[in-house]
Subunit: 294 residues, 2 copies
C-alpha cells in the first residue's frame, strides 16, 4: 500500500470507530441490546466504506467530521446486513472475521433485533448531521434508503440466494454484485461527494469510479476465496467452490477473472481523470482494493 | 363506533392502503421480494397507526395526502416488526390475522429480508415527502428512527422478551409497552401534529394523549386475550395466560386492568381538552381503542 493511503487509513480508522461507537453508546436502550450491536460493530473489518466517505472529503480538502458520521451510518448498515446474513436461516455462519457471529454469542432473537436496530439507527444519524444543509441530509437519507433496501443491497441478496440454485450468466452475476455490495459502496463515495459539495460533473465521474471499484472489489473477493488461506481471510477459504456458487472465476476461469479485475480497475482510474481535483488518494484506494489479500 | 369516526375510517383506509401498496409496487426489485413485502402489508389489520396520522391532520382541517404517505411509512415499520416477531427464532407464530405468517409462505430468509426492506423503505419515503418542508421531513426521519429503534420499539421488544422469563412489576410492564407499542403510536400522532403545523402547546397535549392511548391500547389487548375468542381476534386467544406472560390482568386482576384502562382513557380525554382545535374525532378514536373487540 502506498504511504499516503496507509497514513490516511491509520489516522482515520480510529476517528471513524470512535465516532461510531459513541453514536451507539449514547443511546438509551437495554444494555444487552447495545452490547450486541457494539459486538458486531467492534468485530473489526477493513472499514472500507467509511474510509471511502472520508477519502472523497479529504480529496476536496474538506473537514472530515461529518464524513465520520455518515461513514458510521454506512458501516451500521453493512454490519446489520452481515448479522442477518450469518443467521441460521440465511448463510448459517458461525465465524465472521475469525470471531463467533452475533447469534452464536447472543442468540438468534437478539441478533435479529440488533440488526434491525442498527438499520434503523443509521437513518436517524443522517437526519441529525451537524454542519450539513437540510437538503443534503434529505438526499443522504433518500440515497441510503435506495442503496440499502429492496432496490439495492437487500434486493441483491435475494438475487444472490436465487443464484445459489443455478449457474448465473455474467450479466446476472454483475447485477447481483452491483446491488448486493456495489450499491452501498457507491453510496459511500457519492455521499462523500455530497458532503464535499462536488460539482455534478465530478459527482457523476465519482459514481462511475464507484461502480467499477465495487465490481473490482467483488471479483477480488472471488479470487481470494480461491487463492487466499482461511487464516488470511478470517473466514473459510474455498467456500464458494465447495458450494458451486456462481463466481467470476467459475464463469471466466481464474485468469479470466483476473483480466476482468484489471479491466474494472482501468475503468475506475479512467473515471478519476474526469474529476476536477487531485485524485491521487482515490487512485491509491483503487490499487489497494485490487491488491488486497484479505 | 360513532358515525363520524366510522365514516372517517371507511373513507381513509382505502386511501391509505392504495398509497402504501403503490409505494412498494413502484420500486424496482426482485418480484418475489416485492410479493413478500406486499403479502404482509396486505394481510389486513386495523390500520390504527396511519389512521391516527390522518385523524390529527383532519382535526386541523389540513389536506390528508401527506398523512397517507407518513402513515404508510409507519405501517411498514409496524409490519416489518410483525414479520420479524413471527419468525421461529422469536415468537414462532404460524398465523397472523388468521393468515399464514410471512415465513410460512416465503421461507425464513425471504421473510427476514422483506422485513429489512420495509424498515429501510419507510425512511426513504419520509425523505421524499412532497409539500412538506425539509426541516419537517428531517424531524420525521429523526423521530421515526428513535421510535422504531433501540430506544423505542426494538428496545421494547427486548424488554418484553426478558419479561417472559420472570414476572415484571407494574412499572416495568409499563416501560415495556411505552417502548414496544407506545413509541410508534406516539410517532403516528406526533407526526400528524408536525404535518398539520400544530403549535408546541397543542403538540405536547397530543403527545400526552398518545401516551395514554398507547397504554390503553395495550391494556385492552391484554383484556381481549382473556375475554375475546380466537375467531374475533384472528389469533389464538388465551395465549398470554398459557405462557404465564406479564400482563395487566396478571398483575392487577381482570377488574383491576379494566379500571386501569378507564384511567388511561380519562387521562387521554383530559389531554385533548388542552388542544386548541375541535378534537371530537380524536375523542371518538379513544373510545374506539378502549371498546374494540379485536
Amino acid at each position: 500500500m502506498e504511504a499516503t493511503l496507509k497514513q490516511f487509513i491509520d489516522v482515520n480508522i480510529p476517528n471513524i470507530e470512535e465516532t461510531m461507537y459513541q453514536l451507539v453508546e449514547k443511546i438509551e436502550a437495554p444494555a444487552h441490546l447495545k452490547e450486541s450491536m457494539l459486538y458486531s460493530l467492534k468485530a473489526g473489518g477493513k472499514r472500507i466504506r467509511p474510509l471511502f466517505v472520508a477519502a472523497v472529503c479529504e480529496a476536496y480538502n474538506k473537514p472530515l467530521d461529518s464524513s465520520y458520521v455518515v461513514g458510521s451510518a454506512v458501516e451500521m448498515i453493512h454490519t446489520y446486513s452481515l448479522i442477518h446474513d450469518d443467521l441460521p436461516c440465511m448463510d448459517d455462519d458461525e465465524l465472521r472475521r475469525g470471531k463467533p457471529t452475533n447469534h452464536v454469542v447472543y442468540g438468534e432473537a437478539l441478533a435479529t433485533l440488533a440488526g434491525d436496530a442498527l438499520n434503523t439507527l443509521a437513518f436517524g444519524i443522517l437526519a441529525r448531521l451537524e454542519n450539513v444543509s437540510a437538503e443534503q441530509k434529505l438526499e443522504l437519507v433518500h440515497l441510503l434508503s435506495v442503496a440499502a433496501g429492496a432496490e439495492g443491497m437487500v434486493g441483491g441478496q435475494i438475487l444472490d440466494m436465487d443464484g445459489e440454485k443455478r449457474l448465473l450468466n455474467l450479466q446476472e452475476l454483475e447485477t447481483v454484485h452491483v446491488n448486493k455490495t456495489g450499491a452501498i459502496l457507491r453510496f459511500s463515495i457519492e455521499s462523500g461527494a455530497i458532503l464535499a459539495g462536488a460539482s455534478t460533473k465530478d459527482r457523476e465521474a465519482l459514481v462511475e469510479y464507484a461502480h467499477h471499484i465495487g465490481l473490482a472489489f467483488q471479483i477480488q473477493d472471488d479470487i481470494l476465496d480461491i487463492e487466499g488461506t482461511s487464516e488470511q481471510l478470517g473466514k473459510t477459504a474455498g467456500k464458494d467452490v465447495a458450494a458451486e456458487k456462481s463466481t467470476y472465476p467459475a464463469l471466466l476461469t481464474l485468469n479470466g477473472a483476473k483480466q476482468k479485475l484489471t479491466e474494472h480497475y482501468d475503468f475506475a482510474i479512467e473515471a478519476l481523470q474526469k474529476v476536477s481535483i487531485d485524485t491521487s488518494l482515490l487512485h491509491q484506494f483503487a490499487q489497494y482494493i485490487v491488491r488486497r489479500t484479505n
